[in-house]
Amino acid sequence: MTEPLLPGTLEMLILKTLTLGAMHGYGIAAHIQQVSRDVLQVEEGSLYPALQRIRIKGWVKAEWGQTPNNRRARYYTITAAGREQLGEEMESFGRVIDGIHRVLRTN
């Protein structure tokens, strides 16, 4: 089952994933899918554009490296600016969630 994801949220999830360490695109998508217990399945059509966007904005860096199987892949690393951005986004996301909860809880 796949749920639709907002682009802003996707970037936030990617950044959070990268705080765990450098990863290539496939690895990021796999991680998100796994940790969310298959709720969030990131389409490639959304993933790579999002990666380009945050790369342009200077929140991640990209470098070519070697996979454990000695295959060439591009690894993304979060930058200091990216960490700052992540902190802000998580905060505002939290506020949004609280707000939605409060509305849903009213009887």
């Binding site: 290539h24 790579y48 200077g58």
Partner: protein, 895 residues
């Protein structure tokens, strides 16, 4: 604090520009890897399916890296360059006509800016004002008397500072390498001049209040930057050197900055001297003492917050309450309260405005003509572009069908026009440089060269850019919009020779050409008027001989000549110069015709009742006995002057008068035998000579009384030798100088030139306008010819089939030629009909610049029309011949 995201994005995008292609490959490789991993984990088919449209993804990722609109614009530029490269002749013609149009406008604007618009290069020019006295309540003087200046300076409360200046035009300087006459003279200044203007020295110090205390006690001088470069090569050792200025030794204390030219546009003094040194430099009585001597220009700086009106009001109050005027050698004078005198306070941010008054009308006319030329060039280009766009219909249709938006297409076509404009503007700046130098050469003030430096500066560049933008819009928008309105399907189907939609652009092209012809008529009409007016000015009978004559203007007063010594000096000079080989005769005159000076006196004339009860004004000219013979001025009545007519005590015994005098004061009977009744000294009129134009062809000569040099020595300052010689000036100049030096080595020669050159200088304005408008007129003709040729050529191409059919049906080649020429003439006729009323209207504006010519002169109209018809014939001939040479079979087969 991290930098804003927007900036970081832009920076990353810019960095990636060079690596664009490599980037695309990397993204592709990345996705391939991802796909392989998917296939490995999920199996091949689902992997591929889940991956989605690769091409689209690649494109989208790539899009993100693009710089958006900047990239699109760069692409437009690349297309534009390609378009121009494909048609180099068109590009060259376009850029050339734009360069001439924009360059002409920039050149004229630079001149207008320098003469009419730019403020003085001093501190805060907007708060500077000029004071002009109106002592009797009716006539405004431009100059002040020194004691009044001092009084106002000490008793006003509205000015933060005041200063006065006076020009000395004849100044000789000895800097250690011999005496030379300063070409731009000297300026006497009070202590406040430099401090109030707020000028800083380029070297040393400038004059200040401490140099304005004791009469004759400040032997110092400040050099202008230009003079410092010329005389001392810009060497700082000039400081402390002694200059002999008009015989007075002065120490150099400083140099003015390079962009400072004094307070009068067009005249930049070579040196500045404290006004307290006026006696040392002028060898006469000090004019500072007299309240009756009006000779200084007074300017002031308003205190912050004070307006010109407030200042004038306060000065009026001062005068009404009675101004206390100190005079060094007499008791203080008080201007009576309630006198009619007052002072006019005017804006002086551009300095003293003699130049702009003289040149404003011609400059504006020239500006209008330059603008017209640019308009014509734009119309030309627009019609050419329209024809080309019609030829590119297919290309445009293809691009439209491939998905290009019409707006994008219009923008791209406009980029082509913009590129042409930029190239034209760049070339135009070069044209303007050359043009400005030529302009300065053509415009002179007659007596002194114009001290203007025309450098392109910020305003000029801004003006050029503005003109380029307007030009682009003018000639680019209409063709671009029309071109993009192409109907895709029919355009794709037809070939280049077809009809249909192209009819619209043909009509547009024809309208443009007709407009162009109308504008050309306007320009040509004006140009022809100015040229004919100049011819008339040049051929006016002046009443005396002026060929083969040299005028040598002298000023012996500064070196101490006066009284009978002056007469003796001139006698010697005449004898010495008459004996130079090649000189046929030498005469003397105090005010030569077109010399620009005059001197007059008032005296009652026997037998004449003046209508105002004031004694009439008579102009006086002092001459040697052979003057009339030398200039070929005929004797009408009585006799000429001889030695016995000299008087003593400063006035002659007898005079000769001109015809204007005789007519004005004689009435029915002859004036010969009557007297000019100076109190106690009746002067007999012994003869009448023919009128000689005095200072300007446009004005009647005044009534003149001539008398001999021996009689009036005391009042002479300047005087001129008139030499009749066949030898050219360059040849005989040194001989004349040595002859004069042999009489007195220190005698300054103010000017030496041919009579013809002197007269020419007074019509310099008219000549400049005629020359330039003639140039513009020729330009307009050429542009009109090119435009007509373009449109007719296009017409013939379009109607190839039609002409082929006609000839197949029996029409002769000559008939076809006639057809084409007739069409050309119809276009011209339409343009002429439009243009002539406009020309007649505009002629009214420039009428005051014309001499003896009506702005609706019919001959000029005929000439203008004739020229354009001739141009039309030439322009239409080549396409006509091409039409006649069409092979009917080929034409019919081309479908």
């Amino acid at each position: 604090m991290r930098p804003p995201t927007g900036l970081v994005s832009l920076w990353n995008r810019l960095r990636a520009v060079a690596r664009r292609d490599a980037l695309a490959d990397e993204i592709a490789e990345e996705m391939r890897f991802h796909r392989e991993m998917l296939e490995r984990d999920l199996g091949a088919p689902s992997g591929a399916r889940r991956f989605g449209n690769q091409t689209f993804l690649k494109e989208e990722s790539r899009e993100m890296w693009s710089l958006g609109s900047i990239e699109v614009w760069m692409q437009d530029v690349r297309y534009a360059v390609r378009f121009l490269r494909r048609s180099p002749v068109f590009a060259l013609v376009a850029v050339l006509s734009l360069a001439l149009g924009i360059g002409a406008n920039t050149a004229v604007f630079t001149l207008i800016d320098a003469v009419l618009l730019k403020s003085l290069p001093v501190h805060d020019p907007q708060s500077l004002v000029l004071l002009q006295p109106v002592p009797t309540g009716t006539d405004t003087f431009t100059v002040f008397a020194y004691p009044y200046f001092k009084a106002i300076e000490s008793q006003n409360t509205v000015f933060s500072g005041m200063f006065a200046s006076a020009e000395l035009s004849t100044v000789t300087v000895d800097a250690g390498h011999g005496t030379e006459t300063l070409p731009s003279g000297a300026l006497l200044v009070t202590g406040g001049y430099f401090p109030v203007l707020g000028v800083q020295p380029a070297l040393g110090r400038l004059l200040s209040a401490s140099d304005d205390v004791t009469p004759g006690g400040h032997p110092v001088v400040v050099l202008s930057y230009g003079y410092w470069q010329r005389a001392f090569g810009g060497d700082s050792s000039a400081l402390g050197r002694t200059l002999d200025v008009n015989g007075a030794p002065l120490t150099v204390v400083g140099v003015t900055p390079s962009d400072f030219f004094g307070t009068q546009v067009g005249s930049s003094p070579d040196v500045y001297v404290p006004i307290m040194m006026d006696v040392a430099l002028q060898h006469g009585e000090s004019q500072r003492a007299e309240t009756g001597d009006w000779w200084i220009d007074v300017m002031a700086r308003l205190k912050p917050g004070v307006t010109r009106e407030q200042a004038a009001a306060q000065l009026a109050v001062l005068l009404r309450r009675g101004l206390r005027v100190d005079r060094p050698s007499a008791p203080a004078q008080v201007i009576e309260a309630g006198s009619k005198a007052f002072i006019v306070v005017t804006d002086a941010s551009r300095g003293l405005e003699a130049l702009s008054r003289r040149f404003s009308k011609p400059l504006i006319v020239l500006g209008a003509m330059a603008a017209l030329v640019l308009l014509i060039a734009c119309t030309n280009l627009a019609s050419l572009l329209v024809s080309r766009a019609a030829a590119r219909r297919r290309e445009i249709a293809v691009r439209l069908s491939l998905g290009a938006g019409r707006a994008r297409l219009v923008r791209q076509l406009l980029t082509e026009s913009a590129l042409l404009s930029i190239l034209g503007a760049a070339a135009g700046l070069l044209v303007a440089e050359v043009g400005d130098r030529a302009l300065l050469g053509v415009i002179q003030t007659g007596r002194r060269a114009l001290d203007l430096s025309l450098h392109p500066d910020g305003r000029v560049l801004a003006f050029t850019i503005a003109v380029s933008i307007v030009t682009t819009l003018l000639f680019g928008v209409v063709p671009a919009v029309t071109a993009a309105r192409v109907d895709v399907a029919p355009a794709l189907k037809e070939d280049s020779g077809g009809s249909g939609r192209s009819r619209g652009s043909l009509r547009l092209g024809k309208t443009l050409v007709v407009t162009q012809v109308a504008l050309s008529v306007l320009l040509l009409f004006g140009a022809t008027l100015f040229v004919r007016s100049l011819r008339r000015l040049e051929s006016v009978n002046l009443g005396f001989r002026h060929d083969k004559m040299l005028i040598v203007r002298l000023n012996p007063r500064p070196i101490g000549y006066s009284g009978p010594r002056l007469a003796a000096l001139y006698d010697q000079l005449l004898a010495r110069t008459a004996s130079i080989p090649g000189v046929q005769s030498a005469a003397f005159v105090s005010h030569p015709p077109f010399g620009g000076g005059s001197s007059s006196f008032n005296a009652p004339i026997e037998g004449y009742r003046s209508p105002t009860d004031e004694p009439p004004e008579v102009t006086r000219v002092i001459v040697s006995a052979n003057y009339f013979q030398q200039l070929g001025i005929p004797l009408r009545q009585g006799r000429l002057l001889t030695g016995t007519d000299e008087g003593d005590g400063g006035w002659p015994r007898a005079v000769v008068v001109n015809e204007t005098f005789a007519k004005k004061f004689g009435g029915e009977t002859s004036v010969v035998g009557r007297h000019i009744n100076l109190p106690g000294k009746p002067i007999e009129i012994v003869g009448v000579v023919g009128d000689a134009t005095f200072n300007s062809v446009r004005r009647e000569p005044p009534p003149v009384a001539y008398w001999l040099i021996g009689a009036d020595s005391m009042r002479l300052a300047f005087g001129s030798l008139v030499l009749r010689t066949d030898r050219p000036l360059a040849d005989i100049g040194t001989d004349i100088r040595s002859a004069i030096a042999s009489v007195d080595r220190r005698l300054p020669i103010v000017a030496m030139r041919t009579f013809d050159a002197q007269i020419d200088a007074t019509i310099a304005n008219e000549r400049a306008v005629a020359l330039l408008s003639g140039f513009f007129g020729v330009l307009a003709l050429v542009l009109a010819m090119v435009g007509l040729y373009g449109i007719m050529s296009y017409t013939v191409t379009r109607r190839t089939r039609e002409f082929g059919v006609r000839m197949a049906l029996g029409a002769s080649g000559g008939h076809v030629v006639e057809l084409v020429l007739r069409e050309t003439l119809v276009l011209v006729a339409a343009g002429v009909l439009l243009g002539i009323p406009a020309a007649l209207l505009a002629g009214r504006v420039g009428a005051s610049l014309l001499y003896d010519l009506s702005p609706t002169d019919p001959l000029t109209l005929v000439v203008t029309t004739g020229l354009l018809v001739a141009v039309a014939a030439v322009a239409g001939l080549i396409p006509a011949r091409r039409a006649a040479a069409i092979d009917p079979l080929l034409a019919l087969r081309a479908e």
